[in-house]
Amino acid sequence: MTLTEVKHTPAGPSPAAASVRPLRQRLTALSPFLYLLPALLALAGILGYPVLDAMWTSLKHSVPTDPSADRFTGLANYRAIFGNGAFWTALGHTGLWALANLVLQLTLGFGLALLMHQKLAGRALFRSVVIIPWVVPSVVVAVIWRYLLDPTSGPLNQFLMSTGLTQEPVLWLANQATAMPVVILLSVWKWTPFVAVILLAGLQAIPEELHEAAMIDGAGLWGRLLHVVIPGIRTSLTLASLLTVGYSVNNFNGIWLFTQGGPIGATETLTTFAYRKAFTEFDFGSAAAVAVVLFAGLFIVSTAYFFSVEGRKGRKL
């Protein structure tokens, strides 16, 4: 491997360039690797190896109770999951879940970011409290909403029944028709402030002069939104979209803590499907196969994310 220092000074001899020399003298080609060594060891052991192991496991018959019973079965696990209707249902749910989260979080997050950006009284306070759903731990979000939506003691059902809107309590999370829309809305509730914070960073980067210039040109509110604001936060929008898709597909807590994928599979996504295969049905091989399929899809998303982020920074490395 070749090694050169990052150039922080303009090319050509300068006082600064002269002072670089002592640094270079002390560096052997090895030293950066010494700094990286602890990180590399940890990442290789707990991230790199497990990924390879997951791929390898997906080609085996493997159960948690008896490690010695592992045997290579080729693509049998993949054939089994692709032939399983529940897998395709879960894939469809993952698609619906990710798409709904993306559209709702981005639209609402954009609106919220615009509100957070306005020069209004109480802006600082508004900004710090409106992000509460994002900050609250997932398990606490689940406790709060499971109480609010509870069939007997939950305030929502009590309100609905006292006003006569429903005669029977609505089993929001236990009804096949309502479970999916409800967990989607709860996930949107938790993550919209996060999207808003990312978009707010984009809004803050738009120079004030652009707004003024557009106003002088006679642009109205919509004109400025379309021609100044949206182009101005394009990178933030890309970033937020990619993160939202990636994280939604991965989101386990947002479903498991409310419905565990039920009722009768109504909220089962690939994530809960794989988890169930592994730790309820004790079929490590199939679970790994599902996870590998999921990983392959996400790899594409996060690579795109990387290039969009690095592209914004002018490919400075």
Binding site: S19, A39, T57, V130, V135, Y147, W189
Partner: protein
């Protein structure tokens, strides 16, 4: 101010109010409910505000449930995870910021990719590794896993902060007789401390939020962390919402404090990808 602009302002304040009701309302209602008596919580007595300040949900939580154990476990795991992650990430981030070598870009790409790793993909192999190391059902095993999961983000954060520190100051320190290592700790690190603070906050928040691995790897009550512990109380006391909500409120306090301190770095934490 024209009437139109005044109306616009009114609309904006209206929007703020709606946003507050939607995003803060449910949490606030939960805090209020944690101070209600059982009869109010069950809806036998209808009340929006607690009739009296009923603190027994909180005292019960600490006296009759295992919540204090979960809290201590989470604190221990969070502190050790944060310390180890920061130490490793400072070294690695410094190397990535200061040296350009073949494979640097690839390494960064993998760092970013790791941020999006499906936790489910890792659950099976990590379970197998911890079983081999005899570290299933141990806080040490959980901590090792958490350190590694936090590393990609922490390294990324530290590298970006070190990039903004001018290299000339370190070089001057080297001329003055510092060695590379001292130059890193004494000269390069202090201006990059905000990055370390944000990375540390990321670690704590992640440990606090993580459920999947804690639920899979830990199976005895005395080793449980808060997320799994609180969730287990749901099954145990299906109707004791007061205690559960009190537990939720207590669990949220440390995270809220951290975020309040780190207001200024919020956008960076979000951009770096905190989403547990």
């Amino acid at each position: 101010m024209t009437t139109q602009r005044r109306l616009g302002r009114l609309g904006l304040y209206g929007g703020m109010l709606v946003a507050l009701v939607v995003f803060v309302g449910p949490f606030l209602y939960a805090v209020l409910s944690s101070l209600k008596q059982p009869s109010e919580l069950n809806g036998v007595v209808k009340s929006f505000l607690p009739g009296t300040l009923y603190t027994e949900n909180y005292t019960n939580l600490f006296r009759t449930s295992n919540f204090p154990v979960y809290l201590v476990n989470s604190l221990v795991v969070a502190v050790v995870t944060t310390a180890l992650s920061l130490l490793i990430a400072i070294l690695a981030g410094y190397a990535l910021a200061r040296f350009k070598f073949a494979g640097n870009r690839l390494l960064l790409l993998s760092v970013v990719n790791m941020q999006m790793f499906p936790a489910v993909l890792m659950a099976v192999p990590l379970y197998k590794i911890l079983r081999e190391l005899d570290m299933l059902n141990s806080r040490t095993g959980l901590t090792i896993v958490y350190v590694t999961l936090a590393l990609p983000f922490c390294i990324w954060m530290m590298r970006n902060y070190f990039l903004t520190v001018p290299i000339e100051v370190e070089e001057a320190a080297l001329i003055d007789g510092c060695n590379m290592f001292t130059a890193l700790w004494r000269v390069a690190l202090p201006p990059a401390l905000p990055g370390a603070a944000a990375a540390g906050a990321f670690c704590v928040v992640n440990v606090w939020d993580e459920f999947l691995y804690a639920n899979t790897f830990i199976d005895s009550d005395e080793n449980r962390t808060l997320s799994v512990g609180l969730n287990s109380l749901i099954g145990q006391y299906t109707t004791d919402w007061g205690q559960l909500l009190a537990g939720g409120v207590v669990m949220t306090i440390p995270v809220v404090i951290i975020f309040a301190f780190l207001q200024r770095y919020l956008t960076q934490i979000a951009g770096g990808g905190v989403k547990g």
